[in-house]
Symmetry: C3
Subunit: 437 residues, 3 copies
Amino acid sequence: MSVVEDMDTGARMFHLIERLYPICRSITGDGVRQTLAMLKEHIPLQIHEVASGTQVFDWVVPKEWNIRDAYIKNAAGDRVVDFRQHNLHVLNYSVPVHARMTLAELKPHLHSLPDHPDWIPYRTSYYNETWGFCLTQRQLESLQEGEYEVHIDATLAPGHLTYGEYFLPGESTEEVLFYTHVCHPALCNDNLSGIAVTTFLAQWLATQPRHCSYRFVFAPGTIGSITWLSRNEARLPNIKHGLIVALVGDAGAFTLKKTRRGDAKIDRVVRQALRDRGEDCVVVDFAPYGYDERQFCSPGINLPMARLTRTPNGEYPEYHSSADNLQFVQREKLAASLGVCETIVKILEQDRRYLNTNPKCEPQLGKRGLYRKTGGQKDIGAREYALLWVLNLSDGEHSLLDIAQRAALRFDIVSAAADDLLACGLLHEIHQHGSTK
Amino acid sequence: MSVVEDMDTGARMFHLIERLYPICRSITGDGVRQTLAMLKEHIPLQIHEVASGTQVFDWVVPKEWNIRDAYIKNAAGDRVVDFRQHNLHVLNYSVPVHARMTLAELKPHLHSLPDHPDWIPYRTSYYNETWGFCLTQRQLESLQEGEYEVHIDATLAPGHLTYGEYFLPGESTEEVLFYTHVCHPALCNDNLSGIAVTTFLAQWLATQPRHCSYRFVFAPGTIGSITWLSRNEARLPNIKHGLIVALVGDAGAFTLKKTRRGDAKIDRVVRQALRDRGEDCVVVDFAPYGYDERQFCSPGINLPMARLTRTPNGEYPEYHSSADNLQFVQREKLAASLGVCETIVKILEQDRRYLNTNPKCEPQLGKRGLYRKTGGQKDIGAREYALLWVLNLSDGEHSLLDIAQRAALRFDIVSAAADDLLACGLLHEIHQHGSTK
Amino acid sequence: MSVVEDMDTGARMFHLIERLYPICRSITGDGVRQTLAMLKEHIPLQIHEVASGTQVFDWVVPKEWNIRDAYIKNAAGDRVVDFRQHNLHVLNYSVPVHARMTLAELKPHLHSLPDHPDWIPYRTSYYNETWGFCLTQRQLESLQEGEYEVHIDATLAPGHLTYGEYFLPGESTEEVLFYTHVCHPALCNDNLSGIAVTTFLAQWLATQPRHCSYRFVFAPGTIGSITWLSRNEARLPNIKHGLIVALVGDAGAFTLKKTRRGDAKIDRVVRQALRDRGEDCVVVDFAPYGYDERQFCSPGINLPMARLTRTPNGEYPEYHSSADNLQFVQREKLAASLGVCETIVKILEQDRRYLNTNPKCEPQLGKRGLYRKTGGQKDIGAREYALLWVLNLSDGEHSLLDIAQRAALRFDIVSAAADDLLACGLLHEIHQHGSTK
């Protein structure tokens, strides 16, 4: 453990990903339990088990799936496809099978990627009971005519859906929700990266003073968020800002997918945080396809839930294949993603509205030691500029976030300027937190 | 006739244009009557005659103009300018004249195009009683000094202004108005193209089920729309959407000239229709110059009347000259213009608002056979995407048109998705038709 | 004087600048008084004197500063830096000093521009009592070790702050405020250019009929506008439009800095005026740094005060240095700036709203002699186009300025069209002046 403690944060997140990588996760089963148990080494997750058959809105919690082994053996008895080599080799949620068959009978159960002949695809069949194997195109093409033994040693039986939750209370009941999906097997960016960053964010936030309350949910995609939402409807009005964190370990630029309403405060906060940290950012409008924003932004839920990824789902070649591996995610990208999330939290925490107590003309900053002594220069520094902007826009209508955006200044510089002005009585705090928008 | 029936639609519209081309139309007179009579072979037009002298708002219906022959003969008795060669040769609405004069006396009555020496210009003098001839610059330059005989065998006398109207009732009293001008003589794109496309649109629509009611007006430019408006004021509140169709046979891209208010539903429908059909589209704001939108969008009328052309008036060299001839319009462009108009009608007909009956999280589409069985692929097809969009935005505020525009999907795909969702009970129709905007 | 009268306006403004250039101005003192006295040769300025120690909002009117001579002499007794050579050589508002010191003791009091070694910088120390000299980098580098005599023969003592004001009443109490700063010593563009243009604007406007009332204030930067505002609070509600005029003699394109609210009528008027005169224009949003807009647009004042400059403060290399000299400003640029200001006034004066008295369809312009007699041409002239636009938008909601902007026509053409339509009864004036926005 001391080796890990010596690591920088990026390396520590990468180390967690390395440990999580071999586990075969799905939307239910022991893979999710093992994953959450490993996260409990970092944060005191509360584990929830929801029984198969439970109605969750239009859906029913499915039977629980567990797998021990799976293979295709050729006539010589060699494992030509072997789950022990890679857990993507089995179609996720395959029903158990043990049979002998010809290649022609086998082929309809095989999935490959002709355009990427060395990669194993990731395929699922959660709600259609069948079995299958995923393999590289080269493996597929090397299969000779003859008899094969196929074996999937799995169980699909009544059990539970498992998710983890961590709540950090703040001074206010106003909640911020972070959600990340935990259902994918050996895929590093999608979504061990999101799991690692969210875990380390929660661990850091536990040590910070908090105005808002924070909730972290680690749950399977789609059925997990549907289950969580159906069990937490009474809590939803408290959730003022939310963020899906996923696919944050690759080398691509960040993508903010905006909330369904498109002008929520979280949309603006994420942009400000990315700008403040010098990160490029692609901003896309909400669309009802992607990750769990589909559920959080359904018309009857409609939470202000944005999504932060780097390269989005489906837009990199390695997506949902064995090439989304430990080489595909980078320690420094994970660290930068965590840094962005921390900045998002800081902006949410520090955004406030003030009233300029001397609104007629500028107050004389020089006599308060807040302004340079010699005049006439071409430029003004960011700090003096921030002082002037905070004074000018602290008219009760603008929060510090509004001011930072209008002035194109870093939020922390604006916030520090407000602190200085508050200290010398030039601002008066309005007791309504932050921007209303 | 069987030859015509064997033609495709583009060829049939072109055939109609060929028959209409030789007729000398004006804002009144037998040319318009012959034109409307030819259209009656396709649709049961109602013909209206409004007497000269009738007050129509600030205007008075002018005397009726008819022409039989016109020429300029040189000293040798040759017809050097001859109305029988081209009906553009006479200044439209010329008063009768029969006189001998020198070239110097004649010249103030001659109009030519120095920049296009082989083309005859189209010129009019409706409200200033004079006479004149239009000729090519080469003809003009070849005129020798000497005496000329000029003869315009025309009458300008009390009569009528003639227009045609065709009404197709629908389930609703909500009306859609199509307007096209019929006053130009031998000019093919301006506006035999508009006449042909509007006629075939009406003919097709007569065979379709209709929610809206449709009205088609074939009338002269300016005085025709003023006359129609002054006689139909009580009807105007029923007109919810309107379109001027003109200049739709040339090879140029489409131009949508928006309504005066600029955000009417018809503005959005035309754009969607052009996009759905893969047509390039230039969108221009309303301006009080052009065709009959000048009257429909005057401040006291202000109907939601857009205008669809290909290259707009005045923006192609052949405009208002003998070069706007049978070679200038193309069968396939006419057919494509008709197709766009049909798509406009389909969108107006099918646009509806629904309520998602299962608004909390997505409904499980798979169990209803509406979703693919194997998961994990990169892409989602347009149909599944349309299903998700319709569910997400069917919150009572968005119509199918709103959804198609937000989702950047074809309207017919969105509409078909709504049909599927309605069939399995996931949508409930709101009995207010379409987008309010 | 007859020589001056023969000059064109640009040359006359330049001549005024030449006379003002040698005067050593500051925020108080005889330099401002001499400047205003010279302006009184053109316009009957009212001179205001406000005593040192007067509280003006958060500020106090400072002691008055006057200077007679200043120099640095080397050991040989030569004036190596000499106020008589250039009044920028002394740090503006330096306290008196007469002492001998080493170069090392002297250096903290010296200001230069290493990047522009031949220019003297302009530096001030209004509110921090110190003394200093400004010199070229070459002068600085040529100073040998040794003893120097420094002498600043100045007084800083209770006195007055001086500003000038000129009020031109109009038919209405609605006021337009022009403000320009007069505190800079030998700097031509900043702001002898603004002083000259504002003076000549006032002189011209005194000869014109006026609907609005106009007020011109010539006062020092920052403390001058704060002083004026604190003494004129009761008058502020009358000020409907305001403009800071400064830095208008250089060769750069115009920059409009918008009002704090960003959509005031003056913002639109300035843009229209620049467009009408064919001037390029950079438009920037309000920011609380620059000139006296900082005070006029403070949150508790918030007047609709825009700012017109050519190249803005700090954005040209010569800014606040001896290179902002008589060569840096150009007669024809001064004349063009005055022309823009006159056009701004004309638009403010002539903007009105009308009602089309014949709003249903177009009125027949031809029978009123307002339209061409022969039809069919490709183009319509700007005048006929303006007639159509004025008729179309004179629905009570649009002013002539709104129409000119929508139609992309020159304001004077639109205004002339309105006059023609009013003359023949097609418009009715609404007795509310201009655009409300």
